[in-house]
Symmetry: C2
Subunit: 186 residues, 2 copies
DNA sequence: GTCTATAGCTCGATAGAC
DNA sequence: GTCTATCGAGCTATAGAC
């Protein structure tokens, strides 16, 4: 049920997806869907929360740190090329969430805040930097997240023109050798 | 009129924006809007075409080349921080366009194809590379476009957490020194 | 739990008066 | 050119039978 809702939101976006279509695909009526989820926006929230378990940034307490975490991001980009549905869900909804009164706005704001902290920490640790709050580290972290997101949109529109993992890897390596040229040479 | 439509599509996305709201803001009725644009999707097309004149990638035949073009991208990121409406329009619509049967899908596919060619050329020239079709150059070009797009979404959700120009500049510099370490040192 | 039925909207588009 | 009126369709959500 949540899987079907996920696919539908991914294919159509939140606003353009209808409970009737989700219900059809799930083999019941629109009223049936609302029996389990009191409203459409609550269904979206449930979809997003479900997706957070067992995914990218929720790896449990033994999440990899430093360089291992950055490598994990490249791995994720590689695996994402085989998970178009998931990529579509986040690409479509994250951008849609910036529109007025979107029900997923708080979710994505918080998600990015958390991701930024993770990546900033990983960079600081991998590079052995003294100050975890250095603006340049923060800029680099934001850029790494941004490049992964932006590549997804290009890839969804034109899969053959984009190598998500290769581009992600190239950016991370380049940033590392800028932030810590002694540790990471070109 | 097109300006009002632009703002509305930017604030609500295409699907969620209504002709009635656009008409209200423009001071006429919904039927009045359809007198000028035969359909909603034609209005969107007109908005996007209008925006292409005098903007980022349409700088006329004397578009800057090589390093100057890459600097221009950073300038654009800097100016974009003062043009939230325009940023919102492209961030929202580009992601929305990957959904099924979206009227702007062809527009954004073509736009990215053109942008990729521009940035790839600029990188090839700036770095003095022999092969304009090198995969790594293409990966770097895609990454530069992606980082600019991805930063916009983060910035719209949390303006204080993101320095679009600084992050863009950092990525471009880092990539340059990876692609051509002899010309661009850290 | 799942259904039918329906209330109560909003939407895009068209027809036609002025 | 701009309006009113309206069609036909879609939507979310609720009420209530079974």
């Amino acid at each position: 049920m949540l899987n079907i809702a996920t696919d539908t939101f991914a294919a159509r976006g939140y606003n353009n997806a209808s409970l009737a279509e989700i219900a059809d695909r799930a083999g019941l009526t629109q009223a049936g869907v609302l029996h389990y989820f009191r409203s459409k926006s609550l269904l979206l929230t449930s979809v997003l929360e479900r997706r957070d378990q067992g995914d990218i940034e929720q790896l449990g307490p033994e999440r990899p740190r430093g360089l291992a975490f950055l490598r994990h991001l490249v791995d994720t980009a590689l695996r994402n090329a085989e998970r178009e549905g998931l990529v579509r869900l986040y690409a479509v909804l994250s951008a849609e969430s910036v529109t007025e009164d979107h029900p997923a706005q708080a979710y994505f704001r918080d998600r990015y805040t958390g991701l930024r902290a993770f990546v900033t920490d990983a960079l600081t640790e991998a590079c052995g930097l003294p100050d975890p709050d250095a603006p340049r580290t923060r800029d680099a972290a934001n850029a790494i997240i941004a490049v992964m997101d932006g590549l997804q949109v290009q890839w969804l529109l034109d899969p053959d023109a984009v190598a998500m993992a290769a581009s992600t890897d190239l950016v991370i390596r380049s940033l590392l050798s800028t932030l810590a040229p002694d540790r990471f040479s070109n």
